[in-house]
Symmetry: D2
Subunit: 349 residues, 4 copies
Amino acid sequence: MKQFKVAILGATGAVGQRFIQLLEGHPWFTIGALCASDRSKGKTYGEAAEWRLPTPLPQVIKDMTVQTCQPEGLEVDFAFSALPGSSAIDVEPAFAAAGIPVVSNASSWRMGEDIPLLIPEVNPDHTQMIEVQKKNRGWKGFIVTNPNCATIGLVPPLKALHDAYGVEKIMVSTMQATSGAGYPGPPIEVIGDNVVPFINGEEDKIETEPQKLLGVWDGEKLKFADMVISAQASRVHVSDGHLEAVSFSLREKPGIEEVIATMESFVGEPQKAGLPFAPAKPVIVTREADRPQPKLDRDAGKGMAITVGRVRECPLFGYKMMVLSHNTVRGAAGAAILNAELLAHQGHL
Amino acid sequence: MKQFKVAILGATGAVGQRFIQLLEGHPWFTIGALCASDRSKGKTYGEAAEWRLPTPLPQVIKDMTVQTCQPEGLEVDFAFSALPGSSAIDVEPAFAAAGIPVVSNASSWRMGEDIPLLIPEVNPDHTQMIEVQKKNRGWKGFIVTNPNCATIGLVPPLKALHDAYGVEKIMVSTMQATSGAGYPGPPIEVIGDNVVPFINGEEDKIETEPQKLLGVWDGEKLKFADMVISAQASRVHVSDGHLEAVSFSLREKPGIEEVIATMESFVGEPQKAGLPFAPAKPVIVTREADRPQPKLDRDAGKGMAITVGRVRECPLFGYKMMVLSHNTVRGAAGAAILNAELLAHQGHL
Amino acid sequence: MKQFKVAILGATGAVGQRFIQLLEGHPWFTIGALCASDRSKGKTYGEAAEWRLPTPLPQVIKDMTVQTCQPEGLEVDFAFSALPGSSAIDVEPAFAAAGIPVVSNASSWRMGEDIPLLIPEVNPDHTQMIEVQKKNRGWKGFIVTNPNCATIGLVPPLKALHDAYGVEKIMVSTMQATSGAGYPGPPIEVIGDNVVPFINGEEDKIETEPQKLLGVWDGEKLKFADMVISAQASRVHVSDGHLEAVSFSLREKPGIEEVIATMESFVGEPQKAGLPFAPAKPVIVTREADRPQPKLDRDAGKGMAITVGRVRECPLFGYKMMVLSHNTVRGAAGAAILNAELLAHQGHL
Amino acid sequence: MKQFKVAILGATGAVGQRFIQLLEGHPWFTIGALCASDRSKGKTYGEAAEWRLPTPLPQVIKDMTVQTCQPEGLEVDFAFSALPGSSAIDVEPAFAAAGIPVVSNASSWRMGEDIPLLIPEVNPDHTQMIEVQKKNRGWKGFIVTNPNCATIGLVPPLKALHDAYGVEKIMVSTMQATSGAGYPGPPIEVIGDNVVPFINGEEDKIETEPQKLLGVWDGEKLKFADMVISAQASRVHVSDGHLEAVSFSLREKPGIEEVIATMESFVGEPQKAGLPFAPAKPVIVTREADRPQPKLDRDAGKGMAITVGRVRECPLFGYKMMVLSHNTVRGAAGAAILNAELLAHQGHL
């Protein structure tokens, strides 16, 4: 595989740090530029960032000089964006226009009608939108996004079921980790001995992103999947790993064992192509009575596998289950890296 | 009001300790006997129990001698039962047979067809079953029970809505406190930085007890309410206070403000009668975006009020909300005390 | 006792909220003014403050209009200061100059040579400094301060021992609660699953305040006690309650039982005078092997008693023990209230 | 290097699981037998053990049959012992007698006068005791032990200082992780929002083991180092990583910078020999104001490096500092593995 030089936009924040950590030793991608806000400009990364991950900051990154988030003069093949939404809205188009593709974790452009919202196991063909996007906007580069950290655990199991039986309704109650709020995140005074039953904007994202991800691209536009989702989102005292209690109805009525077998056997393009960040199985189904648990299951598949458990009958919707995914790996930086791997594999980079 | 002497069955455990704490200074009830397992027999309570509540153990209780759980020779008017289910199944009938009414927090007898499952604000007339129970079983006393700690927060708001509009379907995902597991409860190794998505037997209780509580007593038998409930129960890292994400459908279609007003104005028999443990409002509705929270709202109404928040539209069921109640006060010892107050008020004790 | 009207300076912050909570129903003191920063001016307290205590905010306080921190026009007998050090440095002298005595929890003026640093059980006679202070500074009012939250648990037990045997050396390692950092305090990302072995300025305060508190006032100036203290301060994952591991040497060599008896029998002026906030015993000594613990012992004496445990021999210094006190009651607002009660009792207010 | 087959005694417990995890892929040691209590006998390891580590249980280990803790018929070169003290007292000598050397993490035999208590960086020459031990006891094999998990972080920094300046007095207050209590360890009800200022037997170990570790072997017997230690041990709400607040005096009076340089430049036999588990630097000194922290520093050197910080003057003893080490890696299984590597390197296995 060709080697790529990448920039990290928003390199000093929590997601930016995860990109640096996860890209260490990546077989295809090498960090060629670290971009952050003006107040970090000219500092070394070691000076500009307060490194908070338990693995050591690589020396070569520590010594790199941080640049501002401008495409001019950057010699990179593409950029990962770990920007907050408020910066991404302007910075990402500037990079795309300048011919630097942006693989983004930000929410700003996810629902744009010519912007792929991508999970490689779910909708790898949506990258066909890229050509339309370039043409529409007159960009030399493009933007590709990954979904919200709570959406991303939900959709791969649903994809397997939707293809086989047709998913109609989904009720989901989330118990989300504090790392999802970035750094510094909630004070101990707020989240210690507590649950906060509200995360700003989260329920909307969970209720609308899956229909785009499971939609059909007809070569010109995307037909959203026809399903109704209702979400309640809570923040709990867990460091990493979003757990979701899910009930759902299917057009067909398979037995529980068949539902389990369908999720267990699910593989997508990343598994077939052997992409470096692809877990062997994107969806693991556990039969233990009290799993999945954030502490024990979030690191499955190096944080890239989704663990489903307690698949059983629901007296209202037919089926219920618990779903767990690692919100800062599969749900953020790892999602974008797998997206970039797919794009490289498909020849888009 | 007449004064009553009470026994506490299972006095040394977590719920037993709560009974002792909450009964201190009670205007009607005085502790006359402390009963526990054989290994505590003959010890003072101070020796037998490892007191774990932050308020001091009253000296008079500390010095009382613990007895076994047998009705013979006890000079009390009735008994509170904080027994585990495995003991309650035999001990409670023995007390009832011997003429000592049992006001129980145990689960063993809750679903018995002539045993009242009671929330004083919800179904005070179900105590009419007592006469049938005595006759059926040939007992001089009787057993009255309170529901499971997760059921009890859910039902008073539903009662207000059911009377007004007819509740049909309820989907609930719980986030339950560790104190609900008794002492010692889960190890830090298990629940620290974690959520455990399983509580043995809990979902069944939540799915079946509300229909009994909201059922109609016709003088001879109880007609269960006709509604379908689906529950998913999780244990979170919170000391006290069960939070529940609830979606529900109604036969009629009131607006959100009307739903709120109906819950806010709800009062029951305990409020009308001014029972000592009755909170001024059994259901408090908060309009703040991020409430109710266990840490901030569990002590509302001295732990006896239920706090509802985030009442809003659900795209699937019409309505959704968050519900919080204090699981060891309103959900256990406090529930039984309010039950006993109602029984005293009605002349059953 | 005469009734006093009081102002709370810094009323909206964490310590200010504690003052409001603890003063509810106080037999002598009524809140007459709530003062905060300019951005709260003219709002009701309910609007200006985000109330975070589990007991309800009294309606009468909720409706009071917040004023700025200026003495002009205030009709109060004295003021409690919950100001941060940076404001206290100017605001407190302004009040004192204007004839409004300030009973302060701030650190700014603690070490001033004519400013009493006061624990009523330890050095009630230091209030004699007030006359010197007024004269020196030309103030109609005065400032009295309480010590740092980690100092205050340490000094009453040491006072008992110092009077009896002479304390020479003290080595202390603290494990301090997060509430000591105010609101919002440390993020869960920082303090969750962690200990932070550093609290800015804390070790200096612990190493210097006790010598002033245990010093002798000769009518003109204060002779500091002659002892050497070394402190290491850490922040742990506890909400309230500072625990301290203490080793100390004495000039005399009493046995362990004698040391315990000396601390247990210690009473001071507040106990003799029956001041409202005085705990029955300022120092409680527990003999249980694993106490004191923050969760179980911080509320002793309604948060005003200090609990000492594990008193035993130290191979280096002769004696070691664990000391616990409630940092936001005895260590902050409660400390100031007890100081004010002493001042009222002595006729200084 | 020769390849060794090893048995794990106590393989199903928390420390046993750590041995299995850490030995995966070890260049010299392969697991040849898993031994546990009688109730696990004949089960596969997957059935017998509740695997609780976040890395997956290797399939080859999962399928191995668990044996009882008897040396007969075992074809291994030596054994790691993760036994509790009550079993180790008999089982370890049985293995040693039968010619299977035991590298033990248990406390039972640590202070035996012919049993090496070993930290490879500190006293690699103490393995000379093995010949005396074999002769004394008539064993074909031998026992070598590693120190207590709180001792082990303290001694390497002290070794560097003791060699250079002579350590005289040490005062230490520990803040220890819950994993040190094994599985299940303390309930959340006990350690949540709390500190427990007592760990059974821990202070004795910290006060006596360092003198043996720093002692001098003259070919016949061990002369203990002449220093006095006083310890206070507390359990805090941290999963892994023991933090210790240490004050110490030295015979010579080097400056702080010299003390730091002495610790930083310290290397031992494992570093010189390049043993697989040896960290590049056994003692890392950080100059950041608020470090070391368990969450950020416990994994330094893959959990085998000790991090020292806040080295500064102590007004009582001359020097103080904070010390952190990973209690289940450097403090337990990793310690024993490094001991075995030293023994292999020296030709004792």
